[in-house]
Assembly symmetry: C3
Homo-oligomer: 341 residues x 3
């Protein structure tokens, strides 16, 4: 268990203490269930109310408020909380080299210790960087390379030739490097186009559970550094995703889609193939994209529009049947009758 | 093979026999391919027609009809059929304790016999209740607890600290307890919020194949008793799902969504995060939900509406281009010309 | 490494050589990164421009053009490229029988050599046809049968009684034969309908990663020969899919859906259950289908319409708020005022 004084935590996150800085904290939690050694955060009005009666030992706040807890005043509560939560729950690190006897490792694999290789892991002629953890049942094909400190959770599959940078995290059930969906149509039949490209995933990318990232048809599918991908997302062959993107659950990129940097997709955004989205585009949830997005900004919808415009369209949709009735009525009332259609 | 007379089956499901109750039945099936020892059901007009010429030995019916089969008249054909099908195809039960030699089990795990642990299963410092079956390749992390008579099909992944009640069924490829998608934004970068909550799944829940149920950020993600979830669904961190819910395939719950009891989602319903849906809400297929649903009832659509209203909107959508033409025409014909826009 | 002269490649794909047919080729690639022994293709104007300066040794073209590469003129560039790419990258074939010592195979399984069975594979009382490859971590249940030359990639799960034809490819994470989502409602509770049907997948089907194909409730779920399915698709219980279908990513078929032959779904098409789609139907991306489709043709939308009609509706949606404003204005301007609603 990690323990720290409120004062030292405040220092860690650049905050100012209000109250007894010597109080000892050993965990982070939420205001409702917190105990006297728990640190919590106060983000908005609902939380401010809870803070008045919380049993928490300390709270992160934007400004001083009415609470029995010791306060740490910070400029960004979310960032400060993330930092302190990481302090109490650091990423698992490999301290000593351990290869489970029930792992199956090709003699030609290059393993850079220390590693933590779990039972049932299968590694082909691949290279695995120091500090990486591969959990039970994960399969790494021939020709793969993992940088340092990667974490592949249980039952991940990497096909041959997938390259991961450093500190890449892949959650369970995710499949990287399966064949892209590429066929030539010959009469009624589909002729398979061998998918001979690879997959390159840069440093600090995190990919959620049960995602699929297909290998390139020719050339590589790429995901840029620090991009974060939620569960059940699909990245098709030859997509090139920039840095610092974030896709919430169930986003699907069609083949050869090219995304700039700092692109964000809320949940369940679908793109067609062969399109290009520039830097700093933010797409609202449940959207479908069929053409290029050439200007940064906020978009949403099916079809894709300016986000505010689409939110108005959604409101108008609720009135659509009424609108139809109104127009029918207008046609009747207009001098000359319903000549329209 | 299980055999039973029609009379005894009628007793099991509370039905009334019409015809020879001594006829022997050994299976359930459908009217087209049934043989003389097969029991079938007759649900509607199409089935009534098939019943006239079926070779089935017995049929479950709402009311007596014209068929060569012995009839069992019941108040609810579907329930009666489910009961009798369960009679002929009971859930697999663990009769004798079996731990496959190729399973890898932490010495600190608590295993309550009898269990059926398949090859390649990996169990950490977890506790597994009597009668549970864990099939090949399934991984159960440290700190997990399973109640009695659970069934984890092949290649399921439970991260650390997942708690299942009794008789929970999880189908292959499903991942429970992966990190929720939680980051604080610091400039352009995403700072990972450690996901330190757990997952609690109550008695008699069934979860389909290739689903994801994320662990809570702080506090637990919860799924209430008897809830049924189809394939490829996603339950995000800190969702609290009530009892007796049913979600068809590809439903996606955003983070911290709170659902009451007896909520049903038809296929492919997407919710935003931090919203609340009361008891007895039924959502039609292909819907998107972005706000609270405060009243029981039937809803559908994107945006979400009363279901009947939305079905009308869908009809109106078919006419939208015509409507636009009509309005353009009206504008031209109105005295004073098209001053509108 | 495979090497071939341009002339012999032209013969393989029925093309005509323009330039030095003796040039030696050892790979396929793209125009930008090609070297002097690489074959590329030129499909459209963008590629024609790249072809002018490519370093590629040979190019497949529709008609002679301005390029330093040797040209092979063909009637269909995509088909010719697929054939030649297959020549350089033939499907992996099992040359010698190999069963990894860490595979777990039921003594009653029938294995027809040669096979390539990877580590951690688990095979029940199943039969596996000659030439098949089962990669690491794949699980094949009792009663399954695989034809010749099947390929199950790593971490695939086949429940009991799944039947695959010849040359079926299944990508990682895919689950075939899990229980369909079938319950009878008894008061508030869901009573499980045992799913006692099977799954039958015909010759030359390819199924992508992390898909689910559920077993039939009664009777089988079927996928016809040569059908191709992309990642994260769901085929519910008792669907009957015809031959030569193609579904792009994230398509979801509701239960008992019956599809004809040569049906294509672009990405993310959702169908309700118990509906029927005839041969030669093509559905555009992001569509929802709730009724039968009785005529061949191109459809799209939610609700489903003629594709061209829906593309116009999408355009009209962009103007919907304006349309509403126009109608409000018309109502005001009409003699007699806004009597409408």
């Amino acid at each position: 268990m990690i323990e720290a004084s409120v004062a030292s935590l405040a220092q860690l996150c650049g905050g100012r203490v209000v109250g007894d800085g010597s109080r000892s904290i050993d965990s982070v939690g939420d205001l409702r269930s917190a105990g006297p050694r728990t640190l919590c955060f106060v983000r908005d009005a609902m939380y401010r109310e809870l803070a008045q009666t919380t049993r928490a030992g300390a709270v992160l706040v934007y400004e001083e408020l009415d609470t029995p807890a010791v306060q740490i005043v910070v400029g960004d509560v979310a960032i400060a909380f993330a930092r302190l939560a990481q302090h109490f729950h650091p990423l698992a690190r490999v301290e000593q080299h351990r290869v489970h006897e029930r792992a199956v490792i090709d003699p030609a694999a290059r393993l850079e210790p220390p590693l933590d290789i779990g039972p049932g892991v299968v590694i082909g002629k691949a290279s695995i960087g120091a500090g990486s953890m591969l959990m039970a049942g994960t399969v790494v094909g021939d020709g793969c390379s993992l940088g340092a400190d990667c974490m592949l959770h249980a039952n991940v599959t990497l096909y041959r030739g997938v390259r991961l940078g450093n500190r890449v995290q892949v959650h369970s059930g995710t499949v990287i490097g399966a064949d892209g969906f590429g066929y030539a149509k010959q009469g009624d039949r589909y002729l398979k186009l061998p998918q001979i490209g690879g997959v390159v995933i840069d440093d600090d990318v995190e990919i959620g559970a049960n995602c699929t990232v297909d290998r390139g048809a020719i050339g590589d599918t790429r995901i840029g550094a620090r991009t974060k991908i939620d569960n059940l997302c699909h990245i098709a062959h030859n997509c090139v995703v920039g840095t610092d993107n974030a896709f919430a659950a169930a986003c699907m990129l069609g083949g050869s889609t090219v995304l700039g940097d700092r692109v964000t997709f809320a949940g369940h955004v679908i793109t067609g193939g062969h399109l290009r989205i520039v830097d700093d585009v933010r797409i609202g949830g449940n959207s479908g994209i069929t053409g290029d997005v050439d200007e940064p900004g906020d978009y949403m919808g099916w079809p894709l529009m300016d986000k505010r415009q689409y939110l108005r369209v959604l409101l108008s949709l609720r009135e659509l049947t009424q609108l139809q009735t109104d127009v029918a009525d207008l046609k009747k009332r207009l001098p000359g009758g319903s000549a329209g259609s």
